[in-house]
């Protein structure tokens, strides 16, 4: 029952903040807050592959793009039919239905893409897997550039604005709770056992293949959701939003915060997103500043700002019974 109270309270708080936040902090800051939220979803989900399962993926932008474009296509091309079918509902409810359908489609499409990329990860490790995922991200981007129906190189415009603070942070909450519960269950321990020692994991009955693919699929589904929320906020998508530098920033968020820590991924996402904005006035130098900061963090805190530290342990440590 406590669960229902939590989610109800969350909905009320989010709705209240949505109605007042923009007026309070201004449109520019509001947009940054939205971006932070989307990056939190991306970083926390990427952490599942890179931090917990120990597979190095640098193609997260690819799944993000698949989600963004799938959702936008569903809403733009299927929108009129969906609105007609839900004509009895008020406008806001129609929008919510539309967005939810887009999000579901995005999660499914990105999940399928994750499954397709997860398969080679069974045979490849470390650098080799990284190259495959990098290649995947680029393939997706080039494909999008060449599909005219979704704008190609012009970009995909005319996407209705459906998402806002409420939806983005609802997504953040769902992502964080899901990943947190997952990594604190037998699934999470299976993921971590693969990271620690694949041979021993297999010998203890952990089907490493299955769990690796699973972590890829779940992670990419959340990236897809993030893509959907992004597209329906900015109302315009361009392949350049999904360059491999995007994947790189996501890796940086995870590594800066601490691999294998959800709080770390969140902190990393906030820090990197905000710093990229703060450094904007330095123009081309912002990337230099950023690199220096990274080098410093890697020298003085190689395990990430939070390391594997975690704020919320689901279970109390077992008592040492006598």
């Amino acid at each position: 029952m406590k669960k229902w109270v939590f989610w109800l309270a969350a909905l009320v708080v989010l709705a209240a903040m949505e109605s007042s936040l923009r007026g309070l902090i201004g449109a520019y800051n509001y947009q940054i807050v939205i971006l932070v939220g989307i990056n939190i979803i991306l970083a926390v989900s990427l952490n599942l592959i890179n931090g917990y399962t120990g597979q190095f993926s640098i193609g997260h932008a690819g799944f993000y793009a698949v989600g963004a474009y799938t959702s936008a296509s569903v809403v733009v091309y299927g929108g009129p039919a969906i609105r007609a079918a839900t004509a009895f509902l008020p406008q806001t409810a129609q929008n919510a239905v539309l967005l939810l359908l887009g999000i579901i489609a995005a999660a499914i499409a990105a999940g399928i893409a994750g499954w397709a990329v997860g398969i080679p990860s069974l045979r490849l490790r470390g650098d080799y897997l990284a190259i495959v995922t990098l290649g995947f991200g680029e393939i997706i981007r080039v494909l999008i550039l060449n599909i005219d129906a979704i704008g190609g190189a012009r970009g995909f415009s005319g996407i209705p604005q459906l998402s806002n603070f409420f939806w983005v942070y609802l997504g953040v909450l769902i992502t964080v709770v899901t990943v947190h519960n997952l990594v604190n269950s037998s699934y999470g321990r299976a993921f971590i056992s693969i990271r620690d020692d694949e041979i021993a994991a297999e010998a203890m009955g952990v089907d490493t293949t299955r769990f690796k693919v699973m972590s890829f699929v779940i992670s990419s589904m959340f990236a897809g959701i993030a893509g959907s929320l992004f597209g329906h906020y900015t109302m315009y998508l361009h392949p350049n939003s999904f360059l491999f530098t995007t994947s790189f920033y996501l890796i940086i968020m995870v590594v800066v915060g601490g691999l294998g820590s959800i709080e770390g991924a969140i902190l990393g996402a906030v820090l990197v997103t905000v710093l990229l904005e703060v450094f904007r006035e330095f123009g081309a130098f912002r990337l230099v500043n950023f690199s220096i900061l990274l080098v410093l963090i890697m020298i003085y805190r190689p395990q990430g700002l939070l390391g594997a530290w975690t704020l919320f342990r689901t279970r109390k440590p077992a008592p040492a019974t006598k």
Partner: protein, 253 residues
Amino acid sequence: MGILDVRNCTKRFGGLVAVKALNMCLNQGDLYGLIGPNGAGKTTVFNLITGVYKTDEGSIELDGRTIHRSKPSSIARLGISRTFQNIRLFRSMTVLENVKVARHMRKKQGIVDAIVRTRHLKTEEDEIERDAMNLLKIFNLDARADELAFNLPYGSQRRLEIARALATSPKVLLLDEPAAGMNPHESLELMRLIRSIRDEFHITILLVEHNMKVVMGVCEKIQVIDYGETIALGTPKEIQGNPKVIEAYLGGA
């Protein structure tokens, strides 16, 4: 027919024949030793039985089921568990979590259970924790359950590996040099432990070991291999007096 049946198994690595038409038969409740000089192919036999390597020829059966084509995780599910010559614990997990991981495959948790944290998941997690703690108690590790496995002293890490292997509820337990790096006192304790594990858990144990004192003291049946071939099979007494074995270890006169 025994519980674990290795028939005519051959494994080649390029031109090297690591295991040559090997036969081995373990009966329920056996405490079986596999010994041989360095490079005789003992660890290869372990890797064949647990599915890390695939046999080139021959078959392996567990309780009448062919297993030599299955992958290691399925073989573990069918009831073969092992420890490793060079300890392979999950470094970033606590002692308790190491054992829990191995316990999971005997439980049924859906992914939805895990994400939503259903009541079913909670009762199962409690069961897993109880089972794991009970095992740790047998191995005298319960007081350190929440320490990182990596921080345990060497002897305790070896014991934890055995506890973890037992958590999978195996029919056959394979111990790869469990006494390696242990002092005489620790090996003595280990011998006692191995025997009590066999009796308490009603399992079959296959042991690879270099420490002859341990092998001779604990095993009831011993098979000696050299260059991948069986050169002797019998009780510790018989093995000790076998001229072929002495030759293999000390070189021909």
